[in-house]
């Protein structure tokens, strides 16, 4: 959310729930004018390694096995139409999904890599993404052969997660920058995705991107937007709700970026911890995030 003085947002008035609720963004100021996305371009597209896929915004729609099939169908269709990715937590497509296969991620049940989950782009043989629990214990990374690996998904819902997604995302981003691949930071050829069922909206997405994620996989927010638990809205209505959610998230990401004076997410926001400041976080957590205390220039 964008707020000014007198805000009731977390962490000062509303109770903070997550680490990201303690992070605020340094808004634009006199010397750095805000960009109004209604009149000026704010580029939200993101490019993914290995498959040449362009996301229209840093957003992936997760499809968990417990979601009603009407929601699953809507997520897959909306992800396709809006230039996103649907990440189906399972190893197979359902009937009728193949037509949207160009924008689907699947768990690869048959393979595991260094004890981690493997995720693949449907229809692309060869390139894979590794899925790690949200943790800073990354012993697997040191001696890994990165051949064929084009991405890392930090998944807070994955078994073994013991660290908040914000800290783990920042940690993996910097680890990938430190590891060298032919003299260049490994991060240059690896896409980093932060995933959690707990992502609530554009502010969460914005903050995780600033902490180093190229894109954020959102979960139950879509289920809530579909509003179909215990009700039976038509397929088209569920689709429309999810489409509207994704379009609204893009508008909000643009507003947040514009307020920070950022006109390009892909080049200027990813990993830009300098735009964030922490309120009420201990020094250790701030250091792990790479975020300064609020009030520090």
């Amino acid at each position: 959310m964008i707020a000014s003085m007198g805000s009731t947002g977390p962490p000062n008035v509303e109770e903070p729930v997550f680490i990201r609720d303690h992070l605020v963004c340094d808004g634009a100021q006199v010397t750095r004018p805000s960009i109004d996305p209604y009149r000026e371009p704010v580029d939200t597209q993101i490019y993914l390694h290995g498959v040449g896929i362009r996301l229209s915004q840093p957003l992936i729609l997760s499809v968990h096995p417990d979601y009603p099939s009407v929601v699953r169908r809507a997520l897959v269709r909306a992800a396709y139409n809006l230039g996103l990715l649907a990440y189906i937590r399972g190893t197979n497509l359902a009937a009728g999904e193949e037509v949207y296969g160009g924008r689907i991620l699947l768990d690869d049940g048959s393979r595991s890599h260094a004890g981690l989950g493997v995720v693949r782009y449907y229809g692309h043989n060869g390139p894979i993404m590794l899925k790690t629990p949200s943790t800073i214990g990354l012993e697997w990374a040191a001696n890994l052969s990165w051949k064929n690996i084009v991405g890392v998904i930090v998944d807070e819902d994955h078994a073994g997660s013991d660290t908040p997604i914000e800290v783990a995302t920042s940690h993996v981003d910097r680890m990938l920058r430190r590891i060298s691949s032919d003299g260049q930071p490994m991060r240059d050829r690896i896409t980093l995705i932060a995933s959690s069922r707990s992502i609530r909206g554009a502010d969460d997405i914005f903050k995780l991107v600033a902490l180093g994620a190229d894109a954020v996989a959102l979960g139950d927010a879509a289920l809530i937007a579909a509003d179909c638990i215990g009700k039976t809205p038509s397929e088209d209505i569920v689709y429309e709700r999810i489409e509207n959610l994704a379009i609204a998230l893009q508008k909000e990401v643009k507003l947040l970026a514009g307020a920070a004076g950022v006109s390009s997410i892909y080049t200027s926001l990813v990993g830009n911890r300098e735009l964030l400041r922490a309120i009420g976080l201990d020094a250790d957590t701030r250091a792990r995030l790479g975020v300064k205390l609020a009030g520090v220039g």
Binding site: T31, Y38, Y47, G83, G261, S268
Partner: protein, 671 residues
């Protein structure tokens, strides 16, 4: 005392081949002309000398104590084959003095040494900083105004001259500025840069550099620009033009391993470089053009500056033009201008005005803007109706409170904020005017015989502004009208981006008089009329629709169309025909789709705040003539154009833009 502050002031002056070297006095006089853009919190110079080929690296550091000097010397000893200590070259200011040594080592070793030494010097409080280490470049900077820094180092006494000079006067925004380590220029290898702006990508740039051998940062956004240029051109060996292209951050169109090198937010940068064979001057503007930047040349020199007045201090006859939004200017000593910073600069940016300064005009050279305005006020009070000022050079806030029947004639360069809030009288500029002409002006007339720069006619709400030449970015933004009070802005040349952004009233004309024979030239930049809610814009010739308003990325529209086709709602022929367009506007979509598919895809274009524009390319109607004849006749008369040119112009087709449902009452404007 001047109390109104601006952004920093920047400057670059390079000699042309065969011309005399640039002297420190030229540079100092030029940057001091925009003293009000800076503060006592930092200034500096960089000078390049191609003649130093084969000489050792000049390594310069700010140090707070003899102990630090010892430490640096010892540390350097581990890297250099030979060190010749020259000692201090400036008097100490705010606990730091500048120390210099000649060191024999190769660049790669030097880069590594500087990184290590600087990391140590900042690790535990600020003990010092190596701030320059080139063979051909020498930086002089400190806390003070440019004239102060010049005397700290005794530059004038030394009679220093060079092939290229950069200069900076600083208005700190990102660091306190109390220590010289935060002053500009920032340098790395043979690059030195001066910057005006506030880079929002700073954190992403730091993440990019930190794992590429640059680990020590003083904490200002400007410093990273020098490191990025050094890294891209020297480590990655990209051509300068390609590195510059990355810095200006054009919309990403694919994966880039250099994305962290892109700058975002406001910046005007002037940079110098020497590769041992040639000396280069590079100037960059951000894509929104949030900071001023002009470039120019005459027979002897090539210039880049925040304000035209800096150039005019040295050269009355230089041709001067502004960088386009996201523009790149590159020139070298041996090759001259390599990239001009914009298209068609020779066609549109020329010296239109050859008026001689009258002998009896009041000479305002050496006067501050306030002194000039007090003088004008006194003359007005004494009933003088024709006031003539000569040698005007960047004086700001002129033309305020000019009474009815009074004319203010300005010979020279009118500074920023001309005719702001003015309501009557006439202001005539025989030359160019800088940024922000006629802001919130609500009456009277401004006539500019040359060009005007950015944001001309912002919130203009009455009266007329005539510009013979071209204007820059964001002309006529928020222009509005009230009952019986309709403003007119007439531009003889062309405009850059955001013409008529959230315009609410009044009439704008863009005539392209110097390009009447050229159908291939676009007279406006991009994002024309974004958020426009009232008034009307006439642009001669057919404006590409992709230059009007703000459209969603074509890739997003194509993806959605593909989805609609998959659902069987449209056929692939429709997708294909739209795909052939350069940019897909809402108008284009509506011509092909209707009903449910149109409703669906509209979401990519429309929102709560969307106001549709009506865009026609057509011959002028009687109604149009009713609106424009009077004002255009006055424009043509003012600049002494021939009658047949007027007829020719009015028989052209125009792109006419206004909001749908917006109404421009067709009362005939008085002549």
């Amino acid at each position: 005392m001047e109390i109104v502050k601006s952004g920093c002031g920047i400057l670059g002056i390079m000699r042309k081949q065969g011309a005399s070297k640039v002297r420190v006095e030229e540079t100092l006089n030029s940057i001091e002309c925009v003293r009000y853009r800076g503060s006592r919190l930092g200034a500096g110079f960089a000078v390049y000398d191609l003649g130093r080929k084969g000489q050792p690296i000049i390594l310069k550091a700010f140090v707070n104590s003899e102990e630090t000097v010892e430490w640096i010397s010892t540390a350097l000893g581990e890297y250099a084959s030979n060190i010749l200590t020259l000692g201090f070259d400036s008097i100490p200011v705010n606990s730091f003095a500048s120390w210099t040594a000649y060191v024999e080592m190769d660049y790669e070793t030097a880069r590594e040494a500087v990184n290590r030494i600087n990391s140590h010097l900042l690790a535990d409080g600020i003990k010092g900083r190596i701030y320059s280490w080139g063979r051909y470049v020498n930086v002089f900077k400190g806390v003070g105004y440019p004239s102060d820094v010049c005397s700290y180092y005794g530059l004038a006494d030394k009679g220093l001259e060079g092939d290229l000079w950069l200069a900076h006067t600083r208005q700190p925004t990102n660091s306190p500025g109390v220590y010289p380590i935060w002053s500009h220029p920032f340098a790395s290898h043979e690059w030195a840069i001066v910057h005006n702006g506030d880079v929002s990508s700073f954190g992403a740039n730091i993440e990019f550099l930190r794992y590429r051998g640059y680990e020590s940062f003083v904490g200002t956004d400007s410093e990273v620009i020098a490191y990025i240029l050094d890294y891209l051109t020297n480590v990655e060996e990209l051509p300068i033009s390609e590195a510059a292209h990355l810095l200006t951050n054009p919309p990403a169109d694919g994966l880039s391993i250099y994305r962290g090198a892109c700058l975002d937010g406001p910046f005007s940068v002037i940079a110098g470089y020497c590769d041992g064979q040639d000396v280069y001057m590079l100037a960059l503007a951000d894509r929104s053009k949030f900071r001023p930047l002009v470039v120019g040349e005459d027979d002897e020199r090539i210039y880049a500056a925040s304000e035209e007045a800096e150039i005019r201090t040295i050269s009355a006859k230089a041709r001067v033009w502004p960088l386009s939004p996201g523009g790149i200017f590159l020139a070298s000593l041996r090759k001259g201008i390599i990239l001009s910073g914009r298209e068609n600069f020779k066609l549109f940016y020329r010296i239109y005005c050859n008026h001689q300064q009258p002998d009896d005009a009041l000479d305002v050279s050496g006067m501050t803007a306030s002194q000039v305005n007090r003088l004008v006020k006194k003359l007005v009070e004494n009933g003088v109706r024709e006031i003539r000022l000569k040698n005007v050079n960047g004086h700001r806030y002129l033309g305020i409170n000019i009474p009815e029947g009074t004319r203010l004639h300005i010979y020279g360069v009118a500074g920023n904020c001309l005719a702001n809030f003015n309501k009557s009288g006439e202001i005539i500029v025989y030359g160019n005017a800088q940024d922000d002409v006629g802001d919130a002006m609500y009456g009277g007339r401004v006539i500019i015989h040359g060009d005007a720069r950015d944001v001309v006619g912002q919130a203009l709400q009455g009266g007329e502004i005539f510009v013979r030449g071209s204007v820059g970015n964001r002309a006529a933004i928020q222009m509005r009208e009230f009952h019986g009070n309709r403003p007119y802005l007439v531009i003889g040349g062309r405009t850059d981006d955001y013409l008529g952004e959230y315009m609410a009233g009044g009439v704008v004309f863009v005539l392209g008089i110097d390009a009447l024979e050229r159908d291939d030239i676009q007279l406006v930049g991009h994002y024309t009329a974004t958020g426009m809610v009232g008034g009307r814009i006439y642009i001669r010739g057919e404006v590409e629709r992709s230059r009007i308003s703000l459209n969603p990325p074509k890739a997003d529209v194509m993806q959605y169309l593909d989805g609609l086709a998959k659902e069987g709602l449209i056929d692939y022929a429709a997708v294909k025909s739209l795909g052939e367009m350069k940019a897909i506007t809402y108008d284009d979509v509506r011509k092909i789709l209707s009903g449910e598919p149109l409703r669906r895809i509209s979401k990519l274009y429309r929102s709560k705040y969307y106001k549709e524009l009506r865009i026609d390319y057509r011959m002028l109607s009687d109604d149009d003539h009713g609106i424009m004849d009077g004002v255009l006749k006055r424009f043509f008369r003012e600049f002494h154009f021939e009658e047949r040119l007027y007829d020719r112009l009015l028989s052209s087709r125009f792109t006419v833009i206004e909001p749908v449902g917006g109404s421009l009452p067709l009362e005939k404007a008085e002549e």
